[in-house]
Assembly symmetry: D2
Homo-oligomer: 359 residues x 4
C-alpha cells in the first residue's frame, strides 16, 4: 500500500468500503485559512451515490467531520483529519463474489498480493476510497482559489460513443455542469448520454466515458522537472483513480497526428508577459505551467461489476457464471467529476507550495 501523495501538501487516505469509515489526513495546508465542514461537504455531495437515477441506488449521506487542524474556523497549519463514517452496508450483496473474482476487477489481484481481502465491496479498490481524496481536494481547492485565484472545473465529455461537442472551457462553471445529471454541460448531448446510461442500467450492463478538466489562472512556473513535471504528477494522480485507463493533456493523442507547424502554439504578448495564442500544449511547456489554462482528459472504463451473467472461473479455476448482486453504477463518469477536480487540486496545491519557495 502507498496511501500518501504529495511533497509539501501531503494527503494520506484510509478506509475500506465496509469498516468504520473512510477519510484522509491532509498535511501542509497553509495556516489561517477559514475552513469548516461546509467548505468540504458540497464536493462530497457531488460524489456520493444515489444523487440521480444515473448512479447506484445505494444511499450514503457521506457527512464529513473535521477531526483536527482547525480551531475557531481557521486552519492552524497542522494536519487536518477528515472522517466520513460508513453506513448503508449490505454485506450479503457480496457473498457470491467471495468465491468468484470479478472479471476486470481487483478481487483477484488483492487476494494474490495480500493473501486476504476485504470481505465485500472491493476494499481499498472501491470507489468509496475516493471520499478521502475528495474531502482533502476540497480544502486544496479552497486555498488555491483564495490565495491564487485558481479555478478548477471538470465535466463529462463522453459517455460510450457519445461525445459532447465543443465546450468553452474558459467560461464553464460547476453550476452549468451540475445542471445536468450526467454532468455534460451540453443539453442535447446530455440527454442522449442519460438515455444510454439508463438503458444500460436496465440491461444490467455498464459503459465507459471521459472526464475533461480545466484549471484556470494557474500562475506560470508550476511543475518540477524532470520527474515531477506538472503533466506527470497530473497523470499519476488521475491514473490512481479507480477505473481510469488513460490520460491526455492538451492535444493528447490527437496531437500525435499533427505537424509541428500546426501544433506549435505561437506566443503573443499578454499583460507584462507572454501567453500562448492557442493551447495545443494544454497549459504546460517542458512540464511547467505556462499561464494558459491547464486542460486534460481522463478515460474511464465501463464499471467491472455488472448484473449480466459472465462466464469466468472461480478462485480454484473451476468454470463459473458470475451474476453480480448489489447496487452498482452503470457509468462512473458523472460521479468522477468531483474526484478528478479534487486530484487536480491536490496536484496543483502541492506544486504551488513547491514553487512558492522560489524567488
Amino acid at each position: 500500500m502507498s496511501s500518501t501523495f504529495g511533497t509539501l501538501l501531503r494527503v494520506t487516505t484510509f478506509g475500506e468500503s465496509h469498516c468504520k469509515g473512510v477519510g484522509a489526513i491532509l498535511d501542509g495546508v497553509p495556516s489561517r485559512l477559514p475552513l469548516s465542514e461546509s467548505d468540504i461537504q458540497p464536493q462530497l455531495d457531488r460524489r456520493r451515490p444515489g444523487q440521480s437515477r444515473l448512479t447506484t441506488d445505494r444511499q450514503e449521506a457521506d457527512q464529513v467531520t473535521i477531526l483536527s487542524g482547525v480551531e475557531n474556523g481557521l486552519t492552524l497549519g497542522t494536519p487536518i483529519g477528515l472522517f466520513v463514517a460508513n453506513k448503508d452496508q449490505i454485506p450479503g450483496d457480496y457473498q457470491t463474489m467471495q468465491d468468484i473474482p470479478r472479471p476486470s476487477h481487483a478481487d483477484y489481484t488483492y487476494q494474490m498480493k495480500y493473501g486476504i481481502r476485504a470481505s465485500s465491496g472491493g476494499g481499498r479498490s472501491s470507489a468509496r476510497e475516493t471520499i478521502g481524496r475528495v474531502a482533502a481536494g476540497a480544502i486544496a481547492e479552497k486555498f488555491l482559489h483564495e490565495l491564487f485565484g485558481i479555478d478548477i472545473v471538470a465535466w463529462v465529455s463522453a459517455v460510450g460513443q457519445i461525445e459532447s461537442s465543443a465546450i468553452d472551457a474558459e467560461t464553464l462553471t460547476r453550476d452549468t455542469v451540475d445542471h445536468f445529471s450526467v454532468r455534460c454541460p451540453h443539453e442535447e448531448t446530455a440527454g442522449r448520454m442519460e438515455k444510454l446510461i439508463l438503458q444500460l442500467k436496465e440491461e444490467g450492463d455498464s459503459i465507459g466515458g471521459v472526464v475533461s478538466c480545466v484549471c484556470r489562472n494557474a500562475p506560470v512556473g508550476l511543475g518540477e522537472p524532470v520527474f515531477d513535471k506538472l503533466e506527470a504528477k497530473l497523470a499519476q494522480a488521475m491514473m490512481s483513480i479507480p477505473a481510469t485507463k488513460g490520460f491526455e493533456i492538451g492535444s493528447g493523442f490527437s496531437g500525435t497526428r499533427m505537424k509541428g507547424s500546426i501544433h506549435n502554439d505561437p506566443f503573443a504578448q499578454a499583460g507584462d508577459g507572454l501567453m500562448p495564442s492557442q493551447n495545443n500544449s494544454g497549459g504546460t511547456l517542458g512540464g511547467i505551467s505556462s499561464g494558459a489554462s491547464i486542460l486534460f482528459r481522463v478515460a474511464f472504463k465501463p464499471p467491472a461489476t455488472i448484473k449480466l451473467p459472465q462466464e469466468t472461473v472461480d478462485f480454484t479455476g473451476a468454470p463459473a457464471v458470475l451474476e453480480a448482486k448489489g447496487r452498482h453504477d452503470p457509468c462512473v463518469v458523472p460521479r468522477a467529476v468531483p474526484i478528478v477536480e479534487s486530484m487536480a487540486a491536490l496536484v496543483l496545491g502541492d506544486l504551488v507550495l513547491r514553487q512558492k519557495m522560489r524567488g
Copy 2:
C-alpha cells in the same frame, strides 16, 4: 527541480545538453548482479542521435562510464554512478533562440520559473536529459530480466496519421523492431512512416507519433495502491519524458466507448493460478499487475523546434519570426523507443523491490 524517481530503486539524473556531461545515480540495485558498460551501451546507442536518416544529423557517441557501485564485474548494492560526456556542441545554433522563446517549447517557462536558462539546447528540457534515464533503465532491465524473467519491448505504432496494423506483442523482439529505422515492426507501414518523416525533414517541419510498449512475465502483485498503482507510476514515468502528451493502458481511450459486458476480461485457469483470457485491462487490475502482459501506449507531439518560419513574439513581446537553426529530429518516436523501455524498467524495478518484501 525534482530529479529523483522511485522509492526503493531510485534514479537521480543530472546534466544539461551543453555542460560537462549528463548521467544518473541509480541507487537500490540488488548486489552481486553481473554488470559492465556493455550491458548499458546498446540502449544508449539505440537512443543516440545520428543513427539513421530519420533522426537529427547531430552525431554523439554517448559512451557511458560506470563511476561507482560495481567491482570486478559485480554490483555491490551501492549507488551506481553513470556518466556520459557531452561533445558535439555548436552553441551558435542557438543564438537566435536566445531572444525568441520557441513556440511550444520550454524556453519560456524555464526562463520564468528560474529567471535564467541554459544558453542553448533546452537545458534540462532537452532530449539529452534522457540519457541518464536510459542508462539507469538498462540496469533495471537487466535485473528484471535475470532475476524475474521480465521482458520489455517498445515499438513505434503510429507516426502522424499512419498507424501500424496489429502487432503481436506477446512475441515481438527488439531485433524485429530494430530491423526498421523507424522502429515500427511492420514492413509496409514502416516504409510509409519513413517516407513521411523524410518528407517533413525536407520541409523543415515535424510530426508526432505513438510508442507502444509491452512488459511480459511480470509476476502478479506489482503496484502499490492507492497512489502508486502500477498504471499511475507508469503514467508519471511516461509523462515525464519530453514531448509526451498522453498515456493509456490496455483499452485506454477506446475502452471508454465499450460496454462492461464486452470490456470485462473473464478469468481462465492458467498453471496453478488464474489469468485473464483477454487483456483489455492491459495487465493491471486495481493498480496491481495481474500476470497478463502489461500493455501501454504513449503519445508524443511533433517536435517544437522546426526550421519553417514561425510568427510569434520575442521575450519582450515584440512580433518576431523564428527560423530555428541547428539539427533537430523531425519525429522523436524512433529514438523514444528505448526511453520508454527504460522508464518502464525503472517503474517495474521499483515495484518489484517494493513487492518482494512481502510474505
Copy 3:
C-alpha cells in the same frame, strides 16, 4: 508540518490536544496479522496521564478505536486508521499563557511560524501528539515480535542527578520496569527518583531524565546506508519526541573518551555466524544491525511548563511574570518509556520491510 515518517512502513499522525481527537494512519503493515484494539491499548495506558502520583493529575482514558485496515481480527494490508477522542479539557488553564509565551516552550515558535497557534495546550507540540505514535508503534511492535522475534524494552535510567546502577538489558522485561511507578527497574534507585519527582511537583518545579532502550533479536542487516543508517533513523525518531535534547547509541559520548583498542568489539563465533563479544557499538556497525542488541539512550529536558513564577516577557516584549496554571508533569520520563519503545518499533518495522526485499 511534516507529519509522516517511514518509507515502507509509514505513520502519519494528526490531532491537537484540544480538537476532536488525535490519532494516526499506519500504512504498510503486513497483511493477515491478528490485530485488535486490545493489542494497542496497553501501551496507551502506559503513556496516559494520571497513572500515578508522579505524573500530571489530568485524567484521560485515551481509548483507541481502529477505524480501518482490519477485518475479522486480521489486518488487510491496507492503511490502519487509529483514533483516540479528546476529553478532559479545561481551556481556562491556558488563558494566562495566551499572552506570555512559555520560556523554553513552542508557544513562541509556533506563533511565529504559523501566525496562529492552538488556543491551549501546545497544539501539535503537546505530549498528546504522541498518542498516535504510541498506537501505531504498538502495531509495529506486534509484527516485529510475531514475525521476527524482536523485543523492545525501555526504562528510566536517570532522573535529574540520580542514575540507576547497571541494568541487565538482555533480560529486562516490561513487567519488571512497570513494577515501579517511575519505571526505573532498580528498587533503591526508583525510590530516590520518585521522592525527587514528588518533591519537585510539590515545589511547582520540574526535572529532566534519561530513557534507555534495548531492541533484542534484531536480525543482521537492518539499516540503509548512508542516510538511513539504523542509528540515524533512530536518532531522528527519538529527537522528534517532544522535550528530547540528546541521543546516543552504544558507548555514546562516553565512547569519545576511549581508545580504539579498548572500544573495539572483537568478534566471536555464534551459531553459524559471528557476534560482537562486547557491545560498545550498541548493535550497529556502519549503520547496519550486527545481530547484537541495539542499545540507545535518550535525553529529556525538564518540562518547560512549571508553576513557579518565571520572569520573562509577553508577546509584545513587555516584562511579565508567568505562573503556569493547569496540571503538568514534573518529569516526563516515566510516561516517555512507551513513546521511546513505539518510535523504536516504527524505525525497526520500516527497516525490516526495506531489508526483506533483498536476497
Copy 4:
C-alpha cells in the same frame, strides 16, 4: 542503500573508496547563485587526508569538478553534479582484512547485508563517502550565507578525556579554528590534544572525540514538526556520518540533570521580536528555530582500524589476530569538522526552502 537526503534541497551521494571516484548530485539549489569550483574546494581541502601530522599520511588531492547545473558562473536551478576522482589507492593494504572482519567496523555487516563488499577500504562505509556530502554542503552553505546571512562554524571540543574550556560560539570563526591542526580553538587545550593524538598514532591506537557546531543567524521558523523537527533532522544528518555515536542539542544530556526553573530560557525583547535570554534550548523550541544560535555536539568514537594486534575471529569463526595495515587516522574529529558543517548546511538549506514557501 539510501543515498538521498532532503525534501526540497536533495543530495544524492555515490562512490566507494576504490572505484573511479566519489561525488554527489545536489538538486534544488536556487538559480542565479554565483558558483564555481573555488567555492567548494576549500571545504574539501579541510576534509582531505594528509593535511597535518594528526591525520592519515594518505595523500589525496580531492579536486572537485562541477559536472552540471552551472553556466557562466551562475547556477541554473538544475541539479548540480559534483565529482572527485579517486587516486592514491594501495589495495594491498587491505588484503589481510579480506578474511578478518575488522572489530567495530562495517566489514561484517556489509558482507552480511549485501553478500559482497568492496574489496578494500570500507566501500560506502569509508570516510571517503563523505566527500560528496562536503562538496554539496559547501554549496548549501554558500546560499545560506548569501541569501539569509546564516553562518556555520564547527570545532573540536574534546579529544579523549581532554575537553576544551568554554569557547565563545557567537564570535568563533573558521580561521580561528584552523589556526590549530586539531581544530580546537583554544591554544593550551589544542596542544594537549595534538600531543595525545600523535602519541596514539605512534602506538598504533586511536582515540574518540567531540565536534561542536554553531549555526548563527538562522531565521525563526525553520523545522517541520513533528517528524522533521530541526533537531530531528540534524540528529539524522549527524548520526549518518561514519563513526558517530551521539548527538545533543543545547543542554543535551547535561540538561537532564537540571530543574525546569533553571533550565528554562526566559524570553527578552530583541529588535521587533523576542529572543531567549539564555540558550539551554540550543536554538530550537518545539522543533522550530527560535532565532537563537543553533548549538549542537556530535560524539565520534575512536577509529576502528588500528595497527595494534586485535584478537578476534575471521569470517569463518576461527580465532585470528588482526593487525591492520594501511594508513588510517588515529582520531577523526579534526577532519570531521567540515563534514559536520556540511551536513548542518544541507539540513538548514532544506528547511529554509521548506519554510520559504509560507506566507
